[in-house]
């Protein structure tokens, strides 16, 4: 009887793709500006804290500029389509960087920061429901659509309470090793709606290492010019 009930509940649940699509927009909207504080924690070392101003337009364009500390102010990352660029004010040069290189010396890769849509890169399957971090969640398995996607498989937990807030993501290599895991929490009201405000990434490469992104302000439905997302604008600091 309980099995039958579970099957019925699962049948009533939204399909996997719909869950992932809703979760894709849970933290940042379609077109958004935001302020975020990144804290890089390394065992035995002082935390490194950087604040950034970010811009996102659709699933193809993203820009992040460092605002503090003063010595790093002006450093910026740009993602446009499949390309990522880094601007270093000290060198006054825009250089192309790989999506898999780490972002700002932390545990997120450039691709993690600018992963604008999971549904674009992965085929999701709903595995069932499972409690995660004290929340009832859909447990989904995401399989990369092709070998150019960084993580071959992602396990993804999304709240079942109708908010579709992602709670946790685990990223696996082709051979099945868990490489990184992301926790999303501290739901709070930013930009007029509730959303997870803290994302914490840990990885298997360094025990005790962790990078936290804490959103301080978010404005959805911002009006952003396409010219903002070009390497020349990056260099000009526009």
């Amino acid at each position: 009887m309980s099995n039958l009930l579970a099957c019925l509940l699962l049948a009533m649940a939204p399909d996997a793709a719909a869950i992932v699509k809703r979760a894709d927009r849970a933290v940042l909207g379609e077109t958004t500006t935001y302020t975020v504080r990144m804290t890089v924690q390394r065992p035995g070392k002082r935390d490194r804290v950087v604040e950034m101003r970010g811009f996102k337009k659709g699933d193809e364009q993203g820009l992040v500029r460092y605002t503090t500390p003063p010595k790093e102010r002006g450093t910026a990352y740009l993602r446009s389509g499949e390309n990522t660029w880094l601007y270093l004010p000290s060198a006054a040069k825009v250089v192309r960087v790989g999506a898999k290189q780490n972002f700002g010396g932390g545990d997120f890769s450039n691709g993690d920061i600018f992963r604008l849509s999971l549904i674009k890169d992965y085929d999701p399957t709903l595995l069932g429901e499972e409690a995660m971090s004290g929340e009832a969640c859909f447990k989904l398995e995401l399989r990369a659509k092709n070998r150019s996607v960084a993580y071959d498989r992602v396990l993804y937990w999304v709240r079942t309470d109708g908010s579709f807030f992602p709670v946790r993501a685990e990223y696996y290599t082709i051979s099945g090793k868990r490489l990184k895991w992301l926790s999303l929490g501290e739901v709070g009201k930013l930009g007029g709606r509730l959303r997870p405000t803290v994302l914490a990434m840990e990885n298997a490469l360094e025990a005790g290492a962790k990078t936290e992104l804490r959103f301080l302000a978010i404005e959805d439905e911002a009006k952003l010019d396409d010219r903002l997302f070009t390497p020349s604008a990056l260099e000009k600091g526009e």
Binding site: R147, S148, Y171, I174, S175, A204, L205
Partner: protein, 426 residues
């Protein structure tokens, strides 16, 4: 002529102290040159042997970008680009006449991790049973080299550099994992077990590790492929490599390589072409030796000229006497040139004995290369000098020729002395 020679020897023996001083200078210069050549030859031998054994073979087949520019890096010989069907192509190349052995090699970069520690690593997949020279070129510090299967109890075997083992704090029997970004873009990982730790000395191998080709292909998701094919040919050497290249090139061109990027080209490179970095070090060493030798020889030549001019001055009356007795100007020139020749030959002989002994000593025991710059230059943490007959003959000929040349001016001065004036010289 025999009379002139005995006169020359006698004259040199009469001024023993001066002959000893100028001859000693020449002998020291000769010894320094022999030692310098031994060092340069030792560096060249070590760098070349290392390059051929570890990276390129005598020839290598490799995919390069259309606009490839060597960066003068020790890793220039390796290419990160995929050579499709490399293993199958390697076996076909092995059937060519003159080819002793071929081995496919897969080079890539990634992260090695163990116990919460991680480090960047150069990951090199090899066919262990086909790499006896590579095996011999790595000084085993602990454990063993990779087995023919490359697996220990199902786990991929890992043979890694001592500095990397220290950084990860692993030893023989410990687990180590790798994370790489595959060329297509996905992230992959592999768990292995350390079977051996090597000491290479050359700092560019501090973060290198070897896996068997199969696990490396799994890691980079390139089944059957590699990044280069090392070819060992009969006789070795640059000339043999150049001679063997056309037939290898022809077979490579005939072989379809499906999946090769159209912007890339497949090249057959001889080891000097592939290992430009090592050869640029050798050229720099030869250049430095040439400059040093020039100064050394110039100083020695000035010493001889000075010594012989003094001899002319001291023997003015004697020259006047032999000229008055009928000796021609040309005979006087020959006499002094013969003195230079005898002095140079004796000095060259002594210098070769002393320098050769030093070279043989360091050839047996090596010279420790105590800092990173020296290990870069020598391609290892010990430099073993080399004594070759050609080098000795070259040095001896240079010294003797220099001695003769240095004697020409004093001889000419002596020959210009008028007997009447010379006899009145006090």
């Amino acid at each position: 002529m025999p009379t002139l020679t005995s006169m020359a020897v006698r004259n040199l023996l009469r001024a023993r102290r001066r002959s000893l001083l100028s001859g000693g200078t020449m002998a020291l210069g000769t010894a320094a040159l022999v030692l310098g050549n031994g060092l340069a030859d030792g560096i060249a031998r070590q760098l070349t042997a290392n390059l051929v054994a570890v990276q390129t073979g005598h020839l290598q087949v490799v995919a390069r970008p259309g606009d490839f520019e060597p960066q003068n890096s020790p890793f220039d010989a390796y290419s990160p680009l995929r050579l499709p069907g490399a293993q199958a192509l390697a076996r076909r190349l092995e059937a060519l006449p003159g080819v002793v052995r071929t081995a496919a090699l897969l080079y890539g970069r990634g992260t090695a991790m163990a116990g919460g520690r991680s480090s960047m690593a150069s990951i090199i997949g090899i066919e262990p049973e086909r790499e006896p020279e590579l095996r011999a070129a790595h000084h085993l510090q602990a454990g063993t080299f990779l087995s023919a299967t490359g697996r220990a109890g199902g786990e991929p075997e890992v043979f890694l550099a001592s500095p990397l083992a220290q950084k990860l704090r692993v030893g023989v029997g410990d687990a180590v994992s790798f994370v790489v970004q595959t060329p297509e873009g996905a992230v992959n990982s592999l768990d292995g077990v350390v079977v051996g730790v090597f000491q290479k000395g050359a700092p560019w191998y501090d973060h290198a590790l070897y896996l068997s080709l199969g696990p490396a292909q799994d890691l980079f998701a390139w089944p059957g492929d590699a990044t280069s094919i090392k070819i060992t040919i009969e006789g070795g050497g640059q000339a043999a490599a150049r001679q063997a290249r056309p037939s290898i090139q022809a077979l490579v061109r005939q072989t379809p390589l499906p999946g090769l990027d159209p912007d890339q080209r497949v090249l057959v490179e001889t080891f000097p072409e592939a290992g430009r970095f090592a050869f640029s070090i050798m050229e720099a060493n030869r250049g430095a030796l040439l400059v040093l030798s020039s100064f050394l020889l110039a100083a020695a030549a000035v010493g001889i000229v000075n010594s012989m001019l003094m001899s002319v001055h001291e023997r003015t009356r004697e020259i006047g006497t032999i000229r008055a007795l009928g000796m021609r100007r040309s005979a006087v020139v020959r006499l002094f040139v013969l003195e230079g020749l005898v002095l140079g030959t004796a000095a060259a002989g002594l210098g070769i004995l002393a320098g050769g002994a030093a070279v043989l000593h360091y050839a047996a025991y090596g010279i420790p290369m105590n800092n990173t710059s020296l290990t870069w230059m020598a391609g290892g943490d010990r430099l073993f000098t080399v004594l070759t007959g050609a080098s000795l003959a070259r040095t001896a000929a240079t010294i003797v020729a220099l001695s003769i040349l240095a004697a020409v001016y004093p001889a000419w001065v002596a020959s210009r002395l008028e007997p009447r004036e010379a006899l009145h010289h006090v």
